[in-house]
Amino acid sequence: MSLRAERSASATTAPQEPGHGPPLIHAGPPGANGHDALTVVSGEVRLGRRLRDLWGSRELIVRFTRTELKVKYKNSVLGYAWSMLNPALVLLIYYMVFKIIARSHQPYFAIWLFAGLLVWNLFSGASLASTSVVVGKAGIVKKVAFPREVLALSQLGVTLVLFAIQAVVLVGAMLLFGIHPSFHYMVLLPLAFVTLLVFTAAFSIFLSAVNVYLRDTQHLTEVLLMAWFWGTSIVYTYGQIFLSGLQKNHPSLKWLQYVYFVNPIEPIVMAFQRVVYGKTQYTYLPPGTKRGTPPTVYHILPTWGVGTYAMLLGIVLAVSVVLFLLALVVFGRLEGNFAEEL
C-alpha cells in the first residue's frame, strides 16, 4: 500500500506565525484519525510502516471477511452447509480409496484423515483464494486506497471460518466414535495453529501480488498444491514411510527424513494428528493367523515428546515469520503498479 498513516506530533505543535494565512480550524472530533494524522505517499514504504498499517486495518480485514462470507453464503446455514460439501466429499473419497480399496487397516482412519485435511484445507483454500483476489477485486483496488494485503488476509479469514466449522465437525466425530485426543500434547495446538496462520498468510500475500503480473500463477499454484498435498503425510502416515518402510528396507535413505521436513506444513499436520489421533502406533492381527502369533505393530507417528514437536514447530514458526516479512516486502515492491496493471 502506498497510503501510510504516520502519526506525527509535529503536525499539531508546529509553530504558527500569527497573521499568516487562515487559522487552522480543527474540524471534526479529534481522535485517532484527527488532524494530527500525517499521511506520506512515496515510492517506497518501509516494512515497519507496512506492519503498522496492517495492524491499523484489522477492522477492515474483519469487514472484508464478513463481506466475502455474506456474498458467498448469503448468511444462511444452508450456504455454509454447501461450503462443507467439498471437504466432506474429499474426506469420503480418500476414506473409500484407502480404507476399502487399498485396505488400510488403521483404526478410525477417517479421524486420521480429517486431522490432516483440516490443516490442509485451511492452507490450500486460503492460498488458492488469495491468488486471484487482487485481480478479482480490481474495481476496488483501482479506486480506493487501503493496504492491499488486507485482501489476501480476508481470504484467509474466510477459510478460517470454514476451518472452525470443520473443527467443530471433527470434534463431534471424535465424541461420536469415542476417540480420546492426547491431552498431554494439547499444548501444541495453539503453536501449530499460529504457525499455520503465519505461513499461510505469507504464502497468500506473496501469491496475490505475483498473480497480478503473472496471471497463470493461479494455475501453477493449483499444480503446486497438488504435489504439495501428496508430499505431506495426510492420507498416508509418516510412519509408513520413515518408521516401517524406508527405515527398515533402505536404512541408507534415512537422510530423506530431513529433506521431508523442509515442507513447513508437515510438522503442523503431524502435530494436529498427534493431538487428535492420540496414538503413535497400532497393532493389527490379520484374520486367519495362527493363534499365539503376536500382532504386527504399525508405527504411524514418531514417539517424540512434546518438546521435539514444539522445537520443530518453533523453527517453522520462525521461518514463517521471516517469510511473512519477506512477502510484505515483495508485495510492497509489486503493489506500486497494481492500479495500472489491472
Binding site: S2, R4, T39, V41, F146
Partner: protein, 422 residues
C-alpha cells in the same frame, strides 16, 4: 505559515506503455522475459502546496495528468519518485460508490466504506442515520446495492464520503450528481466544508465550477504544472492552452510590466436598456469592452462568445471575419460588438470576450464569461433560438375538378405540385 494540508514534492509518475504485454509466466518464458515498453511520464516534477482550508482546483485537458496526480495524493497510485504529505484524514471521491459491493445491502456497504476510510465501526454507527438521511435512502437501506438506481448509488456514495468528515476531500468531476435538489444539497455541504476550514481539491473541466468554488487553481499540461494562480487567471491560461495557442501572452511574457493589451470593463446594452433589464427575442444587442493597451497593436482580433444557462456554447465569432479585426492605438479604446438581431429565446446568456493576434500566436487577453444578458420571450415559442417561420397550407392534388383552396399567399408552384385545375 500554517502547515500545508497537502505537500506535493517533485512528484513524477512513469507509466510503461507496452507494445506487447505478457501477463503470464508462459508468455514471459516464451519471449525470454523481454517486454519492450515506451516510458510515458504522466507526471513530471510536480510540486505544489495546498493550504489548510483551501479549495483548490486542478484544470487541464484530458490526459494532462490531473487525475493521476489526484490518485497519487489519494494513495491509489504510488509515485515513481517524490513524496506527498497529507495532513489529516483524507477522503477521495474519484468515482462515487467506488468501494461498493453490489451484493451487499446499503447498510453493509456504508460500514464497509467506512472501514475502507479507516473509521471504526462505532464511529460509523454514530453517523449511520445521518448518512442514510442525507442519501434519502431510508426505505431502501437494507436492499442490495445492485438493485439501486444509478441515482441512488451515487447519492449513497456521496453521502458516505462527506459524512465521514474528512479533513481533506478530493473530488474528481463528480460534483454533479443526482437531481437538482440533491445537487443543491451537495453544494451546500461543500460550502459548509469550506466554512469549517476543510481542504478540498477539485479536478474539473468545468471552468465555472472552478471559478465559483476555488480560491486557487493549478493548470496542468503533459504532466507538468503550467501555473498556480487565482482561478480567473488560471482559467485564462487553461483556455489558451485548450485552444492550442503556442504562447500565452500572460503577465511577464509580453512587454515588461504586464499585458500589451488588457480588457477592462465589459458591458452589454440593448435597445430598451432604459426601460427593462431583459431584451425580447429579435432585438439588437451591443457589447462593449474597454481595452487598455501599453503599445499600439495594429492587427488585433476581437473575439466574442455567448454561452447559455447550461454553459453550452451558443455562438463564437469567426476569427477570420475581417469585421473582427481592430486596430488598437497605444492607450487603448473601446471595442464594440453589435448584434443587430439576437434571435435567442428565454434564458440568461453569458458573454466571453477576447483579444488575440491574427496568427493565433498570442492571446492578449481573454475574459471568460464576464457579463451576461437576459432574454425574455413574450410569445409562447420555446427552445433556444427563434427561427424565422412561415406556415402555409394547401390540399394535395386529387384529380377532381374544382376550386383548390389555398391558405397562405406566397405559396408558389413547386416541383411535384402540378396544378391540375382545368
Amino acid at each position: 505559515m500554517p502547515l500545508a494540508a497537502i505537500e506535493v514534492r517533485d512528484i513524477s509518475k512513469q507509466f510503461r506503455l507496452y507494445s506487447e504485454k505478457h501477463t503470464s509466466l508462459k508468455e514471459r518464458v516464451l519471449h525470454g522475459g523481454r517486454m519492450p515498453f515506451t516510458p510515458f511520464w504522466a507526471l513530471r516534477d510536480v510540486t505544489v502546496d495546498i493550504n489548510q482550508g483551501e479549495t483548490f482546483g486542478i484544470l487541464g485537458r484530458n490526459g494532462c495528468g490531473k487525475s493521476t496526480l489526484l490518485k497519487c495524493v489519494a494513495g491509489i497510485l504510488k509515485p515513481t519518485s517524490g513524496e506527498i504529505r497529507v495532513r489529516g484524514k483524507l477522503a477521495a471521491m474519484l468515482e462515487l460508490g467506488a468501494g461498493f459491493q453490489p451484493e451487499l445491502s446499503g447498510r453493509d456497504n456504508i460500514f464497509l466504506n467506512g472501514a475502507l476510510l479507516g473509521l471504526p465501526q462505532s464511529e460509523m454507527e454514530r453517523r449511520f442515520d445521518d448518512i442514510v438521511a442525507f442519501a434519502e435512502l431510508e426505505d431502501f437501506i437494507d436492499n442490495q446495492v445492485k438493485f439501486y438506481s444509478s441515482g441512488m448509488y451515487v447519492r449513497l456514495g456521496f453521502a458516505v464520503a462527506i459524512n465521514v468528515e474528512p479533513d481533506v476531500l478530493l473530488v474528481d468531476e463528480v460534483l454533479a450528481v443526482g437531481d437538482a435538489a440533491f445537487q443543491r444539497k451537495c453544494l451546500d455541504h461543500v460550502k459548509k466544508f469550506q466554512r469549517e476550514g476543510r481542504t478540498i481539491v477539485v479536478v474539473s473541466h468545468a471552468t465555472d465550477v472552478i471559478r465559483q468554488n476555488c480560491e486557487r487553481a493549478m493548470v496542468m499540461n503533459h504532466g507538468q504544472t503550467i501555473t498556480v494562480d487565482e482561478p480567473g487567471e488560471a482559467i485564462r491560461v487553461y483556455l489558451a492552452d485548450l485552444l492550442g495557442v503556442g504562447t500565452v501572452a500572460g503577465p511577464g511574457s509580453g512587454e515588461p510590466g504586464g499585458n500589451v493589451l488588457a480588457i477592462g470593463t465589459v458591458r452589454t446594452e440593448h435597445e430598451a436598456s432604459g426601460s427593462r433589464v431583459h431584451l425580447y427575442p429579435g432585438e439588437s444587442l451591443t457589447v462593449t469592452a474597454e481595452l487598455d493597451s501599453l503599445a499600439a497593436v495594429p492587427n488585433a482580433l476581437a473575439t466574442i462568445a455567448i454561452y447559455d444557462d447550461a454553459n453550452e456554447l451558443v455562438f463564437a465569432s469567426d476569427p477570420d471575419d475581417p469585421a473582427c479585426a481592430v486596430e488598437v492605438p497605444e492607450g487603448g479604446g473601446i471595442v464594440r460588438f453589435f448584434f443587430p438581431e439576437v434571435p435567442l429565446l428565454d434564458g440568461t446568456y453569458t458573454v466571453s470576450v477576447g483579444v488575440r493576434s491574427p496568427t493565433e500566436t498570442a492571446i492578449y487577453d481573454w475574459k471568460d464569461q464576464v457579463t451576461q444578458f437576459e432574454v425574455a420571450n413574450p410569445g409562447r415559442s420555446t427552445g433556444r433560438v427563434r427561427l424565422p417561420l412561415d406556415v402555409s397550407f394547401r390540399l394535395r392534388s386529387t384529380g377532381l375538378t374544382g376550386e383548390v383552396p389555398v391558405v397562405g399567399t406566397d405559396f408558389g408552384p413547386a416541383a411535384g405540385w402540378e396544378e391540375t385545375v382545368p
